[in-house]
């Protein structure tokens, strides 16, 4: 039961984007297309799960004084792995995500989970926690990029979904559209969260 | 003579209905109710008790503190009650009710100062204190306190305030026209106490008769300055700014920069105290607005306002508001039984229409433009409204003089002064 909660909380109740307002930069930057959003989400899931697991395994061996640098190096290693993997195998995607892949390293979600969870909890729970948070993050990216791609291009994953009559709202593909739609989605989400916790 | 002014301010319709009405004596009322607290400062205690017989001018209340001012009986009669009565400023307050006897007898203690022209400074000051003289412009700050600046702050300029910038009011105007000589003598007494290098008598340009009549009586080392007709020209700091272009430091007093400002009505009262030995038990009140015959009246303190209204032919049909003071800073009264006190310069009857609703501020900044102290009234109102108390001082709340210019011009009908007063209250409580 407990492990189930550890996993599920990241999806909604403690969703890193919607509830904790973390990892804003990639959330805004790469959500013009759903495909980018998914790719970024998966990259974060990989880095988060891998580094959480590794750190949890060695949590007793890492001295307190060098915790931060150790974490950073471990995270950075996995980030570079993902970056090169994408560059080699998905050059098109890698180009679109640009510098935001290396920037995963400073994504506060990842460092936050290490500090708050995996440096204190056993491997299995750390893995679940990271997976939950990662999927929660991906979920947020999917929601935002779906809205932006449909309104901004009239397509979803590149396929036209709204037909000829629709005039794309170019703004949704631009920075203002990213900020505005995330702001509005957060506002709507606040309304629902308040209702459900009442 | 040049027209002098200060930045900001408003110019509502002057409505000086009684500018040419001579001061008349109001017939003595049957009963007076004299509040013990008629000044700013420490409270007074009654010196009479129920059943006591009093003469006109008998001391009935005093305090021991330096910043206090005694009150006197304004009629000859019997104390019938000491209790809680209507008070024009505080709503309710301790007052002495006296039933008048037919025959008027002056208290034997009333004696003029001997050889007032050559009296000692200390004697004059003591007389002013003992006769209960306070600022007659409405502030009611004990005059002897204002005339006793600490030695570290020498006074170089005396300003006599005859601006009377509030619309409707004419009591100072009439006093200057009719009792110019007495006022000038009062000014000379103040000069003697303070020994200023310069003395200015400031009068708004809309009072030509007062200007010319005083002009003839001027003595050496006095100068009349004509100031622009604009509200609140009569505010101390505004008057100083207009005449001397000097700024009273924020949170400070005029005497910090060597200036004392006195109202013309106060000068007249000082004259009466010194030359006639008369305690402050009557004053001139303008009864105006929606009354049938607006007049300037000499009224015994403690007279209920209903007597004044009746003497002026009663209220017009539809009047629903009676204000003590002018329309800009006066205080609306609950009852016509409220007595006239030392600071009551006018009684104004108005037909007040339905309250307009308060709309959101549209930042038109009219209040900023008219604010005579150059603060941001609308921001202060919002700060109070949204309870961001920590911002109050940053926005100079305490500098507000509550003149009401901002509310007068506000298109959204925001009671800014009310918010500011609430903010001042809060700030005082937080400091404690």
């Amino acid at each position: 039961m407990k492990s189930y909660i550890v996993f599920i909380k990241g999806l909604w109740r403690e969703n890193p984007v919607f509830r904790q307002i973390l990892g804003m930069c990639p959330t805004l930057a790469v959500t013009g297309y759903l495909s980018n959003g998914i790719a970024m989400g998966l990259a974060v899931v990989f880095v988060l799960v891998a580094s959480s697991t590794v750190i949890s395994i060695f949590r007793r061996l890492i001295p307190k004084q060098v915790r931060m640098p150790t974490f950073i190096v471990i995270i950075a290693t996995f980030v570079v792995l993902v970056d090169y993997f994408l560059r080699a195998n998905y050059p098109f995607l890698s180009k679109k995500l640009g510098p935001y892949v290396p920037l995963i390293v400073v994504n506060c979600i990842i460092m936050g989970r290490q500090e708050a969870f995996s440096s204190k909890n056993p491997v299995w729970l750390s893995f679940l926690d990271a997976l939950g948070m990662g999927i929660g993050f991906t979920l947020a990216l999917v929601i935002l990029s779906t809205v932006r791609e449909i309104l901004g291009f009239g397509t979803l994953l590149g396929h036209p979904v709204l037909g000829q009559w629709f005039t794309p709202w170019v703004i949704m593909a631009l920075p203002p559209g990213a900020f505005l739609s995330l702001g509005v989605i957060l506002g709507i989400n606040n309304t629902f969260q308040k209702k459900s916790t009442r | 003579m040049k027209k002098l002014s200060f930045p900001g301010g408003v110019h509502p319709a002057e409505a000086k209905l009684t500018a040419s009405a001579p001061i008349e004596n109001l017939p003595l009322p049957e009963k007076v109710v004299i509040p013990l607290q008629q000044h700013i400062g420490a409270p007074n205690n009654p010196t009479v008790k129920k059943g006591d017989e009093v003469f006109t001018g008998t001391l009935i209340g005093k305090g021991d503190a330096f910043v206090s001012s005694p009150v006197f009986s304004s009629v000859t009669g019997k104390v019938v009650e000491i209790g809680n009565f209507f008070h024009p400023v505080t709503g309710k307050g301790i007052a002495v009710a006296i039933e008048r006897k037919e025959e008027e007898v002056l208290d034997p203690a009333i004696k003029p100062v001997e050889d007032p022209e050559n009296a000692e400074k200390e004697v004059l000051l003591e007389t002013i204190r003992a006769k209960g003289i306070v600022g007659m412009g409405g502030a009611t700050f004990p005059t002897h306190v204002k005339l006793s600046p600490p030695p570290s702050k020498p006074i170089d300029t005396l300003i006599i305030n005859g601006a009377e910038c509030e619309p409707y009011l004419t009591c100072d105007d009439r006093l200057m026209i009719e009792s110019g000589q007495e006022i000038i003598k009062g000014v000379k007494i103040i000069q003697k106490i303070l020994n200023p290098e310069k003395t200015f008598i400031a009068i708004e340009e809309n009072k030509p008769e007062a200007i010319s009549s005083l002009q003839k009586l001027l003595e050496e080392n006095m100068e009349i300055v004509v100031v622009k007709t604009k509200y609140p020209q009569g505010g101390e700091k505004q008057l100083i700014k207009a005449i001397l272009k000097r700024d009273v430091p924020s949170g400070g007093l005029p005497l910090d920069i060597g200036i004392v400002v006195q109202n013309v009505g106060t000068c007249f009262a000082i004259y009466e105290a010194v030359y006639r030995g008369k305690p402050l038990y009557e004053r001139v009140v303008t009864v105006t607005g929606e009354v049938n015959n607006p007049r300037n009246l000499r009224v015994r303190l403690g007279t209920p306002v209903s007597c004044l209204v009746e003497f002026c032919g009663g209220l017009k049909e539809g009047v629903n508001q009676v204000i003590f003071g002018g329309p800009m800073m006066g205080i609306a009264q609950i009852s016509l039984d409220t007595p006239i006190i030392k600071g009551t310069s006018g009684v104004l009857a108005l037909k007040r229409k339905e309250f307009p609703p308060e709309y959101p501020c549209i930042r038109c900044a009219r209040c900023v433009d008219v604010c005579p102290t150059s603060i941001l009234p609308t921001q202060l109102a919002k700060i109070v409204k949204f309870e961001k108390w920590d911002l109050l001082e940053e926005y100079h709340l305490m500098d507000c003089i509550e003149c009401g210019c901002c509310v007068y011009v506000c298109p959204s009908n925001i009671p800014i002064v009310q918010y500011i007063k609430a903010g001042k209250d809060k700030l005082r409580r937080m400091k404690k």
Partner: protein, 193 residues
């Protein structure tokens, strides 16, 4: 001219916040008050410039000659983390008044992705050393500008009946969007970069 273009672009069209979405967390977090925004802006500008000062030589004089470009990321982030730590210690001891002005913001900076981002961009844009310094400095100023505007607006909105559900991050994001919309007016004004 080169420098002017870099400078103007960093403030407007290529603004690190409005165009690249970097440093959003501190942008949302530290923009409630003008004073703190000013402090944070100055601290970020300072650290960004210092980062370029150190990471440019490390990258071009150590990593590239040894064919170790893949160490760019771990090295940069370690440089930033240790720089911030070192600066904090140094300020506290040597320049206390600067510490009281900037010091409290320094720990927040490690997690500011704008710093790492600007170091990565500096390499991507192939700037030489002087241009890199100027670029990072200008970007810091651009960040400060965005922060100050936002703080000014949010201070105003402290005195507004903002809908409850929008308070905080949602409204800040919407304002950022509107600012980005207004800043579109600059586009084309500064070409290239």
């Amino acid at each position: 001219m080169d420098f002017l273009l870099i400078f103007l672009a960093a403030l407007t069209t290529q603004n690190i916040v409005f165009a690249y979405f970097l440093g959003i967390c501190p942008y949302l977090g530290v923009s409630r008050k003008l004073d703190t925004a000013l402090g944070m802006g100055m601290a970020v500008t300072f650290v960004m410039t210092i980062t370029a000062l150190f990471s440019w030589p490390i990258f071009y004089l150590i990593l590239i000659p040894r064919n170790l470009p893949y160490l760019e990321l771990p090295v940069f982030i370690l440089v930033i983390a240790s720089l911030v730590q070192f600066l904090e210690m140094y300020f506290r001891k040597a320049i206390p008044h600067l510490y009281s002005a900037l010091g409290i913001y320094l720990p927040l900076i490690t997690t500011n992705c704008a710093i790492l981002g600007v170091a990565l961009f500096m390499v991507l844009k192939k700037y030489d050393f002087i241009h890199s310094l100027f670029y990072t400095f200008s970007t810091g100023l651009g960040f400060s500008l965005a922060l100050l505007i936002m703080a000014g607006i949010r201070e105003d909105l402290d005195l507004a009946p903002v809908p409850k559900n929008l308070k905080g991050a949602p409204l800040a994001l919407i304002i950022a969007g509107l600012l980005a919309l207004a800043f579109m007016g600059f586009s084309g004004l500064v070409k290239g970069g």
